[in-house]
Point group: C2
Chain length 398, copies 2
Amino acid sequence: MLHDKLYAERMEVVKPSAIRELLALANQPDIISFGGGFPDPTLFPTEKLINVFTDVMRNNGGTALQYTSSDGLPSLREKLCARMKKTGGVDCTIENLFIIQGGQQGMDLVAKLFIDKGDVIVTERPTFLGGLIAFNQYQPQYKCCSMDKDGMNMDELEEILKTTKKVKFIYTIPDFQNPMGVCMSLERKKRLLALASKYNVIILEDTPYREIRYEGEHVPTIKSMDKEDRVIFLGSFSKILSPGMRLGWVVAPKEIAAKMVLLKMAADTQCSTLNMWLVDRFMDMYNIDEHIEVLRSAYLRKRNVMLKVMQEAFPASCSWTIPQGGLFTWLTINPKLDSEKVMKEHILPEARAAYVPGAGFFPLNVEHNHARVNYSCVPDEKIIEGINKVGAILKRLD
Amino acid sequence: MLHDKLYAERMEVVKPSAIRELLALANQPDIISFGGGFPDPTLFPTEKLINVFTDVMRNNGGTALQYTSSDGLPSLREKLCARMKKTGGVDCTIENLFIIQGGQQGMDLVAKLFIDKGDVIVTERPTFLGGLIAFNQYQPQYKCCSMDKDGMNMDELEEILKTTKKVKFIYTIPDFQNPMGVCMSLERKKRLLALASKYNVIILEDTPYREIRYEGEHVPTIKSMDKEDRVIFLGSFSKILSPGMRLGWVVAPKEIAAKMVLLKMAADTQCSTLNMWLVDRFMDMYNIDEHIEVLRSAYLRKRNVMLKVMQEAFPASCSWTIPQGGLFTWLTINPKLDSEKVMKEHILPEARAAYVPGAGFFPLNVEHNHARVNYSCVPDEKIIEGINKVGAILKRLD
């Protein structure tokens, strides 16, 4: 092509994701999509937001539509510090906490801060596809730890850290992991911290689903046990309020936070002042915990609807995780089947349904008989219809 | 520090900007600040936006608060394509045009797409500080062309292109340049295109102030004359509607646009869906050109107020540009004075006023006797008071 000689070397690894392109096919109104990691749009607090927006415009319009500083609205950051203490057991100040454009920007900034070409990132296997997309731009190498119902395998982690040079950070989603829906146990969190200390690496704790727990007990955050300033915590409003506002936050050691804010300024100046004001004022005018409680009970109901139909409709060769929170279950199908091929050839055209084939979540040693199945944004009756149809296909191919 | 060994090499050049830190000092309510590049907050259409927001929430709330695609809302992109034709003379489709988090993200993505360490970016001298902040992360080298009232010096550009390897792109702000306020002439735009073609480099045309012209004739955009798919155009809503919404757009050759959207997805997934809906609906419900017309006449008045007081109050050793649009004038003071030192020692403490010292706008061959002086966001009576006080100090030090 005309400009091939001009592109930076990093573009050799920045490529379209086959899975995202496949999911784009599923983005038609008649498709029942279990693919997106989307919250339920019928639960967005639209009328409350009209009141909030009106109040902000009438009282603070000149400020809310203007530029602000790169670290974000101080008032919102203060509220989030208090919330970090209350829901995450973390002591921090606004020098540790700044606002980002959702968790994705957090991952981009952390990789930009730490990764030179060839440096190593340790991830869970499988792990969040969007994380890999953020990290890939900086040309890392990956090492991976397998997962079970208690999170990442710590013996594998120790072996990796012992034998691998240039490990910069460990990326984990400890709560209702994307894509598996499982949580890291307290014991493993403690061992993770001990290993990170022994081998001097950073831990990136990504927690978008943490507050959407509808069963079981909260496990303390890794950050709450961080005695050595080596945990970077990512929080997000995407699942507890609105992903379309693009707001999340970072809690990090002061020195790291200051460097990340410089990178944030360079990348996009700041987040939307308007959206920061809206969320800040929403938390003044309404109780966000009551809103989150509504989401929890709705997603618990949807999870139950989905797992019940899976139990009835799927062949015995299938298994799935039973998430105690979050938005997904991780489906494992007959190992002789490839979930991507099954989706392309049968589920999309015949059932008019979609999931996310699991292959894209594996940075290494790809497994092909998994899928991430979302229940949060599909109406109950469509869950029943779609899962029944998928089940019939899986039985036929079994 | 604890993590020094872990940071990426690029962090050696990502440092706090002394000028931004100085301007932070000026961010107090009693300071008359000519420092920011801020639009007038009293002109934000707050009541109209309440109507727009209410309409979007009532009719499209579930979609407007949800995720959308990385290239942005199709309906807004269609509108911007039509606008590019009307105001910029550019033929494009939504495959060429995508939404970004303001112009700053455009500069970040272009540098990420093209710059390996040591590659060369050609800029105007002086040029936009924020551009240098975006580019620096990718460790480029800079070559610069001096500026006069018709924009960048094309003989210098030819000499640079002839003698320099690895030039990737030329960065220009052709309309009411930041910081100088001058425009590139049609003749120079044509020569720029010819030189870029001859030496196979990209042109990055950054146009945040283009629509804020209150005198003189529009010069055609460089993009409108781009026959070879080598111009990347950046547009922004920051100066024509609201910087706090963080919305801008890129128009680029399809192949480049597709690659930049991949980088955008990796960096922050997407812009705020909500803000894209607000701007899109605003343009449906109201005439944005009428709003821009209000801004033009207000900024023309403010410019006149400022330049008149400068004429009266400044010593003969000073000179300044007479911008026909945009938000700034570029002040040149007595060459024996350092504008940063004068601000720190006299203007801030004595006049309780601030400008942006010019040094930070020079990537090379720094000149110390300039300042960028903004008139768009200061009330008229404060312009008079502040400029008179600055003038008294400059006279005393002359």
